[in-house]
Symmetry: C2
Subunit: 111 residues, 2 copies
């Protein structure tokens, strides 16, 4: 069997998925959007205590670029921008549940 290159390791489906899950804040954003559906930027900020503007904007842009989050802007004053999960974003739910379930199981197992 052929050796896997570093490229293949890092661009494998696992890491592709991890791109939308890893880091300090992505889970919180996905969790809130899964729970609430559609939220304005400010509502997201309030729903995720302690996140900085910088990180919230950065992660939203990242998730939008990946097609996981939808962004809709309205020409109001003050501005209105709504964020929600795309269809593919919503499909992350069972993955997130699988990860969380293991975490619960692990917490019990190790005490």
């Amino acid at each position: 069997m052929r050796e896997k290159t570093l490229e293949e390791y890092l661009n494998c489906p696992f890491h592709l998925a991890m791109n939308t899950l890893e880091g300090k804040w992505k889970f919180a954003i996905l969790y809130v959007l899964l729970d609430k559906g559609t939220l304005r930027y400010k509502e997201l900020e309030r729903a995720i205590p302690d996140i900085s503007t910088r990180m919230l904007v950065k992660e939203l842009k990242h998730l939008e670029a990946k097609g996981v989050v939808n962004r809709k802007a309205y020409a109001t004053v003050p501005p209105t921008v709504e964020y929600s999960l795309s269809t593919i974003g919503k499909s992350l739910k069972p993955v997130i549940d699988s990860i969380s379930d293991w975490g619960k199981m692990y917490a019990k197992a190790v005490g």
Copy 2:
């Protein structure tokens, strides 16, 4: 409903599980050990091209400390140290599969 604190966000089951999955190399280590069962340190090193000694040692220690990996040392010369997955480590397989499956699906969906 009470507000979640930052602590609760970061020590939640999701992030607890992510501790054993995230980063550049943990997946490769888990993947190889799931596939091959038990491997000596040097065999792991050879099975994961481009990983540095530093990172391999560091991640193995981390995973061992989390109870995910077992380490067994023999008093030979040169040293023999065998690594394998613990029972709870093996239980990560369906989680890893779930993440990878989403990655495959995503790759098809976005082209």
